[in-house]
Assembly symmetry: C2
Homo-oligomer: 285 residues x 2
C-alpha cells in the first residue's frame, strides 16, 4: 500500500485547482529506497532544481523535503521501495498565467518495490520498438515534468509482458530513450547514449552511469543513434533509478544481443557496490 504526504502532512488528496492537475505544471522524481534510505537523493534534487529554474518555479524547501522523505522511508526500515516526489506550482486561479508568488505543492508517496523478475537483471530484457514519436521541444527536453502523454501513448502500444520496456524515437527516427528509462549501447569499448537536447528525460541514473564510467575508465559518447546503429552495437542496456541497469537481449524487430555483455556487467557491479539499487540478484557477480 502506498503512503502519501502532501506538504509534510499525511494526506492523499490535493485541491482540484492545483496547477499540477490543470496543466501538468510541475515536476517529479522517482527515487529508489534501499534498506530504508532514499538513494541518489542529491542527484534527484539537482535535477528537480534544474527543472524549477527552467519552469520558473520556486525551489522546494530542501531541508523539510529531506526530513519528510527520511521519515516516510522509515516506515519501511529494512525493506526496499520507491519514493515518488511530485512538485507542482500549487493552487492557482484559472488561466495559464502563473501566479506571481506560487506556493508549490510537494507530494511524497512511498510505494512497495516493483515485483520485477530477477531475470531482468541477470539475463536481460526484450524491448518493444514503439511507433509513438517524441516531439522536439528543447524548452522542456531533459526535464522530468508532468506532461507525460507521449509516454502514456507509447506505453499503451503493448501489453504483452514479453516486452519489459519500449523504445521511443523522435520525429526524425532517432532513438531517444525507453518509455521510463534511458538507452545505452556499447560499441567496442565505448559507451554510447543519445543526446537529450530536444526531447527525452535526462535520467538521474543515466548521469550516475556516466560518472561511474569515468571512474571505471570506460569512455563514453553522447551521440545520435538510429535503429540501424543500435542493431550494430555489441551490447545494449537501459537504465533508470529503480532498475539500475537492465541488459537488453532483444528488440521487437528481431534484433538480438548477447546479454549481459562485459561492459554492462562491469557497470552493474559498480552500481551494486554503490548501494544505490537493491541487493542480491540485482546484477552482482
Amino acid at each position: 500500500m502506498a503512503v502519501t504526504w502532501v506538504n509534510g502532512v499525511p494526506c492523499d488528496r490535493i485541491a482540484v485547482n492545483d496547477r499540477g492537475l490543470a496543466y501538468g505544471d510541475g515536476l517529479f522524481e522517482t527515487i529508489a529506497v534501499v534498506a530504508g534510505r532514499p538513494r541518489l537523493w542529491e542527484a534527484h534534487l539537482d535535477r528537480l532544481r534544474a527543472g524549477c529554474a527552467r519552469l520558473q518555479l520556486p525551489e522546494p524547501p530542501a531541508e523539510p523535503l529531506w526530513r519528510e522523505a527520511r521519515a516516510l522511508c522509515r516506515q519501511q526500515p529494512t525493506g526496499h521501495g520507491l519514493l515518488k516526489l511530485l512538485y507542482t506550482r500549487g493552487s492557482g486561479g484559472r488561466g495559464y498565467a502563473p501566479p506571481a508568488e506560487p506556493e508549490g505543492t510537494r507530494i511524497l508517496t512511498l510505494h512497495p518495490w516493483p515485483d520485477w523478475p530477477e531475470t531482468h537483471w541477470r539475463n536481460g530484457i526484450e524491448l518493444f520498438l514503439c511507433q509513438t514519436r517524441l516531439a522536439r521541444q528543447p524548452l522542456l527536453a531533459g526535464l522530468k515534468h508532468l506532461n507525460r502523454l507521449e509516454q502514456v501513448l507509447a506505453r499503451s502500444e503493448w501489453s504483452d509482458e514479453r516486452w519489459a520496456e519500449g523504445l521511443v524515437r523522435d520525429g526524425e527516427g532517432w532513438l531517444i530513450e525507453g518509455t521510463a528509462s534511458n538507452l545505452f549501447g556499447v560499441a567496442g569499448e565505448t559507451l554510447i547514449t543519445p543526446p537529450l537536447d530536444d526531447c527525452g528525460v535526462a535520467g538521474v541514473m543515466r548521469r550516475n552511469i556516466m560518472l561511474l564510467s569515468d571512474e571505471l575508465q570506460i569512455p563514453y559518447e553522447v551521440t545520435p543513434v538510429d535503429p540501424n546503429a543500435l542493431r550494430g552495437m555489441d551490447e545494449v542496456f537501459v537504465s533508470n533509478s529503480l532498475a539500475g541497469i537492465w541488459p537488453v537481449r532483444g528488440l521487437s524487430d528481431g534484433t538480438v544481443w548477447a546479454a549481459p555483455g562485459p561492459v554492462t556487467r562491469r557497470l552493474q557491479q559498480a552500481l551494486c557496490a554503490q548501494g544505490v539499487v537493491p541487493g542480491p540478484g540485482r546484477g552482482e557477480a
Copy 2:
C-alpha cells in the same frame, strides 16, 4: 468563488494518484455559461469525445455530465460564468501503462465570468508575439489535453496588461494560435486560419466560426500563416469559447490593423445572435 463537483458530488479535492495529476493524462473543456446555461455544449462534448478516442479513454457518461453541468449552472441562474470540465483517466497504479479498465474522473468547476474590459470586443486588443515555440506532435495536435506546459511558458513571457493575449509559433516559425485562443486573419473577403495538424488546440469557437462563415457566405481557408503574411492581412482576430471574438489592433512587433474590420464585425454580430457569448457590449451593432 468557484464551485466544484467531482464525479457528481460536491468536492474540491482529488486523489493524488489520479493520472490527470501524475501525467496530465486527461482532457478539458472551458465552456461559456450565458444566462445560466452552458453554451455550445454538444460541440464541447464532440471535441472531448474525439480526444477520448485519440487517448483511448472511455467516454464520460454523457447524460450524467449534462445533468451535473446544468445543476451547477443553476447556481448562477441569471448571470454569466464559465464552466471548466476536466476529464482524466482516473486513479491508477504507478507507471505509464494505463489501467485496463480505467474509471475516468470528471471534474466540473463553475467560475465567475472573467472581468475582461468591454473595449476588448469593441476596440480590439494587442497581441504579444511569444518566443516559446510549440512542438510538433500530430498524435496530440488539436486536442485540449492536460499537457499544457508550453502554454504556461508562453503565457509567462509577458505580464503587462497591454497585451491581452500572446501569439505562438511552431518550431519552423509558422503562427499557430494564441496561448488560449485561435487565430484568424482576413485577406480581402477570405477568412484565413492556420492548420492544426501538428500542434495547437482546435477550438470549439474556431469550428463555430467556420460554420457561421458558411452561413454568412464568407469563404475561408485553412492555410499556414507566418508573421509576414499576418502583417499583410486586412483584419485579424482571435477567438475562444469565452471571449467569442476579440478583434486585434496591434502586435508587439509594431504592426497595427484597423479593428474591428467589417468581416470581424459581421462574425461578432452573428455570434451575439447565436447567444453563445454574453450580451451587451460584446460586439453587438
